[in-house]
């Protein structure tokens, strides 16, 4: 189904199931510890062995030799796969750092061996007996030291290294009120509750991996590429994921080494990253050093705005796109955004929870507060004054809908912003200094195609199959709600099956693209199924209603179970998008209000109250999940 014109009223808008405060349909499994996570799939294949990854003890250099003898002789050891057994493995399309193979060490805790043993403890104990010789090379780890010499580099999502509108320098020079400040943010690691984990089993040339991955199709493609296998020989299964935060968007060493270990051991092998390995063996959010300059007229209108960001990564990596929101959030005729990338020998920098905006918006919003103070303006008023209803870089391209001002105004009213004392250090509660703050929230709508298969069984049960994942965000429930709404059945007549690469390819979970695209794909498949049922029954598709487990047209009514027939019905479709994004900038907005306290002696900071007023979602799929 192609979605290229604004939607009109459709069956979703009945809102009989969608939009309700629905309990999570997988909640009981999770709260009773019975949701099957990758490392606990004891049931799926017999004779599983345990793999333990040894990480490099140096941050840069080469392995000069590895002595595996003691480890191989240790109790319970089945086999050891060493990085010296093979050349550097091909990189997956989404990988920057080498996951395994070869003698070169590019970052600390790069995987260099997998010990496979009968028990986890035996594998871990044997790994400590591997003796590794290293030829160390002095690496670069300090962003501040490398920042000045860092060259420009383009980022993710099409942001150029340098984007200009008008003449920033001249306008900034001429501005009556100016701000020129630097902000820095540290490296940050994903530490989701479930570590990266995989169980791999070979059946001849066919490989099945039970894993924990946000993007099944990417994972399948990249695992096949890394292991030089035909894609059709690889199956990924990831129905439950204990948190991802972007750290499980990509193929990682656990899946690659479980597969290599299983091949070497001749039996299924499972591998989980230990907690200490998670920081340096995987991806992380890189540190940034940002410079923001804002020039304004005395009445507070921004005339010039510039945001520069420097971050580090391995060669061929991308910068943290910390300037992205500054291209769109506030008005100003003269603009400059600029990203630089320093080559550092740290683990791969990549997406982590709101990549770009998390560090970038923080800096921009601090700068906006500081500028408001210089102008003697209320920070809410300063933001409202510089609202824009069009893309400031392309003024003939409006926002599809932009309610930032409404978010700020409503938030201010509900929060009691008018009680704020703008002079710092005036409000006390015992030994705590209390203040209020505001910030805008911003993230772009991200559209990507997404498919699903919907089956109607002779028992009247609707089964949805898609390789979409649930990373704890409630995907099972919103997909079930979508199918129930579309097919006119209660939630308990819907079965949702997710996270299997044998299912149609979905949007996957990440970057704020999961819920909107995956439910739209299920919608498309349900439309196809509805049409097929109408045709089969000879109903007029224009006059048809699906409700209470029945399909009705005029005075005719047939149970869905009957309509399914003995063989049932199964249809697949997906959502695809036209070029609306060229005509409209589609973004989501929020006004955040916080009451914070700072201890007058120790400087400890505590958030006492917070309100977020959000706008952007045209439809709340589950009131409960939204709250």
């Amino acid at each position: 189904m192609k979605f290229d014109t604004p939607a009109t009223t459709n069956p979703i808008d009945q809102l009989k199931v969608v939009g309700k405060a629905t309990e999570r349909i997988d909640g009981k499994l999770k709260t009773t510890g019975t949701a099957p996570y990758a490392y606990e799939r004891h049931d799926v294949v017999p004779n599983q062995a345990y793999g333990f990854i040894l990480g490099a003890a140096i941050a840069k250099g080469r392995i000069s030799g590895m002595d595996l003898d003691d480890a191989k002789a240790a109790p319970g050891v089945i086999t050891i796969v060493s990085t010296l057994d093979m050349p550097k493995l091909p990189l997956g399309k989404t990988n920057i750092a080498c996951l395994f193979g070869g003698a070169e060490i590019a970052h600390y805790h790069q995987a260099i061996a997998l010990v496979v043993a009968e028990t986890f403890e035996q594998a871990r104990a044997a790994a400590s007996l591997i003796r590794v010789g290293y030829a160390r090379v002095q690496g670069k780890f300090d962003l501040a030291a490398e920042a000045n010499a860092a060259p420009p580099k383009d980022g993710h999502s099409g942001a150029g290294p340098i984007d200009r509108v008008g003449n920033f320098e001249a306008a900034f020079q001429a501005a009556k009120v100016k701000l020129d400040e630097q902000y820095s943010t540290p490296d940050q690691s994903h530490m989701m509750m479930e570590p990266h984990a995989s169980l791999a089993a070979w059946d001849g040339a066919k490989l099945t991996v039970w894993t924990s991955n946000q993007m099944i199709a990417w994972g399948k493609r990249d695992l096949a590429k890394t292991l030089s296998l035909p894609e059709e020989n690889v199956r990924l299964i990831s129905p439950y994921i204990g948190g991802g935060f972007g750290g499980k968007l990509f193929l990682r060493a656990d899946a690659v080494l479980a597969a290599l270990g299983a091949r070497a051991a001749g039996r299924p092998v499972k591998v989980a990253l230990t907690r200490p390995m998670m920081a340096n063996n995987t991806t992380h959010r890189p540190a940034t050093i940002q410079r923001i300059r804002i020039g304004a007229s005395l009445d507070g209108k921004i005339t010039a705005i510039a945001h520069e960001s420097t971050s580090g990564n391995l060669p061929d990596g991308k910068p943290e796109t910390a300037v992205a929101q500054t291209k769109l959030l506030y008005a100003g005729a003269n603009r400059l955004t600029f990203m630089k990338l320093a080559i550092l020998d740290l683990p791969e920098g990549n997406a982590m929870r709101a990549p770009g905006e998390a560090p970038g918006l923080m800096a921009l919003e601090i700068a906006m507060d500081e500028m408001a103070e210089r102008l003697g303006l209320d920070p809410v008023e300063f933001r409202v004054l510089n609202d824009t209803q069009v893309d400031p870089e392309k003024p003939d391209r409006p926002f599809s809908r932009r309610q930032l001002v409404k978010c700020l105004r409503e938030g201010a009213e509900h929060f009691g912003w008018n009680k704020r004392n703008p002079k710092p250090g005036q409000v006390r509660d015992g030994r705590w200094l209390v203040g209020m703050g505001v910030a805008a929230g911003f993230r772009n709508n991200q559209l990507t195609k997404s498919a699903a298969r919907v089956r109607l069984g002779r028992d009247g049960v609707v089964t949805v199959e898609t390789d979409m994942t649930d990373i704890g965000t409630g995907t099972y429930t919103i997909i079930a709600q979508t199918a129930a709404e579309m097919m006119g059945v209660p939630l308990d007549k819907v079965v949702v099956l997710l996270g299997d690469s044998s299912f149609p390819v979905s949007a996957g979970s990440g970057g704020q693209w999961g819920a909107n695209n995956s439910t739209a794909g299920v919608y498309a498949a349900c439309v196809k199924l509805r049409e097929a049922i109408a045709q089969k029954l000879g109903f007029n598709p224009a006059d048809i209603e699906f409700a209470d487990g029945k399909v009705c047209s005029g005075d005719r009514s047939v149970l869905l179970a009957e309509a399914a027939g003995d063989k049932g019905l199964s249809f697949e479709d997906g959502i695809e998008y036209g070029d609306l994004a060229k005509k409209y900038q589609q973004s989501t907005f929020a006004g955040h209000f916080v009451e914070a306290a700072v201890h007058s002696f120790t400087g400890e900071t505590r958030i006492r109250r917070m309100l977020a007023v959000c706008a952007g979602a045209s439809l709340i799929l589950s009131q409960r999940a939204a709250k």
Binding site: A57, I58, P75, E121, R124, A125, S128, P276, R431, H599, F601, T602, G603, E604, R606
Partner: protein, 322 residues
């Protein structure tokens, strides 16, 4: 983890004898620290002597009006004990400021005293660490040292003693009671129990090989306003950047010990004479000879400010009580 043997001791004499037979043995009680360290092969005992069956799980009055806390009294039970809450409030507050409910249910009084540093370079076996591997060097010097000690350190080690409970016990003037394989008992003042690193940072306390802690004794209650203030990077489940345990009397005299800044709970009795003159005066003497790194020099000011907060709170309590 290295393979090890295991036995359950039924009496203190049996535990001590087992320790004498096995030079590479360790006692295990709650295991909340030891087991983690064994998994990482930082601790590699060949034999574990489980002392959980030895009794030592009572809190009893002493003849001089204090309390004897059995070595195996769990942290949760100690913090919740009515006498501790009433007469030694700083100790109860310090215990609940540490770890998590689950860990405190398991952790014991003696084990808490013996917990090892949380220096990240001690934990990462790829890094040099004189405490873990004597003579290998110290990666924390010149590394990330925000959490590290600022006083009592040496060129060999800048790790902290990480706990909370012992800081409160130190301010209360507690002592450690032990027994050895020959049945000889001795009492070690807590101030002499934890050793400064010097050139031997792997020697962390005054216990001889095989010597077993049986109890911690507290002297008779001293009253006053008892405060434990812990400042940390997270509001919960984090080790102290700086913690202050204090007993402040109505005449502004009192005792102070500081956690998170030294290889042992840091108390300088001479500095306590300055308490009536305020935090700055106390800290001037308390931290004489401090050797902070660039990363942790903020702790010097933070000690003064945290003590300032404690003294302000004590003053308020005094005003309310008068």
């Amino acid at each position: 983890m290295k393979p090890f043997t295991y036995e359950r001791a039924k009496s203190p004499a049996e535990a001590a004898a087992a320790a004498a037979r096995n030079p590479d043995a360790k006692f295990i009680a709650g295991g909340t620290n030891l087991l983690d360290l064994m998994k990482l092969e930082i601790e590699t005992p060949k034999h574990l002597i489980d002392v959980n069956g030895l009794g030592f799980d009572k809190i009893e009055p002493t003849p001089d009006g204090g309390l004897r806390i059995g070595a195996l009294v769990r942290n949760t039970d100690l913090a919740a004990d009515e006498r501790i809450r009433r007469d030694y409030g700083v100790l109860s507050r310090a215990i609940v400021a540490g770890a998590s409910g689950q860990l405190r249910n398991k952790a014991t009084t003696a084990g808490n005293l013996l917990q090892r540093t949380r220096c990240p370079y001690f934990y990462d076996t790829n890094q040099p660490c004189n405490k873990r591997k004597p003579g290998s060097g110290c990666a924390a010097l010149g590394g990330y040292s925000r959490q590290m000690a600022v006083i009592g350190v040496s060129d060999a080690c800048i790790a902290t003693y990480p706990g909370d409970m012992a800081v409160a016990m130190r301010v209360l003037g507690a002592s450690v009671e032990t027994v050895n394989a020959h049945g000889t008992r001795r009492t070690i003042p807590l101030g002499d129990f934890h050793k400064l690193p010097g050139t031997t940072p792997h020697v962390e306390n005054a216990l001889a090989p095989g010597e077993l802690i049986t109890a911690v004794t507290l002297p008779r209650p001293v009253g006053g306003t008892q405060i434990y203030y812990k400042v940390r990077d997270r509001a919960s489940y984090a080790f102290a950047l700086v913690s202050v345990a204090a007993v402040i009397q109505p005449d502004d005299t009192g005792q102070v010990a500081v956690g998170g800044i030294a290889p042992r709970p840091w108390r300088v009795e001479a500095a306590e004479g300055e308490l009536p003159h305020g935090a700055k005066a106390v800290v001037g003497l308390l931290l004489t000879g401090a050797k902070p790194t660039n990363d942790n020099k903020f702790k010097i000011k933070l000690v003064e400010r945290t003590l300032g907060a404690v003294l302000a709170e004590a003053k308020e309590a005094k005003a309310q009580n008068s």
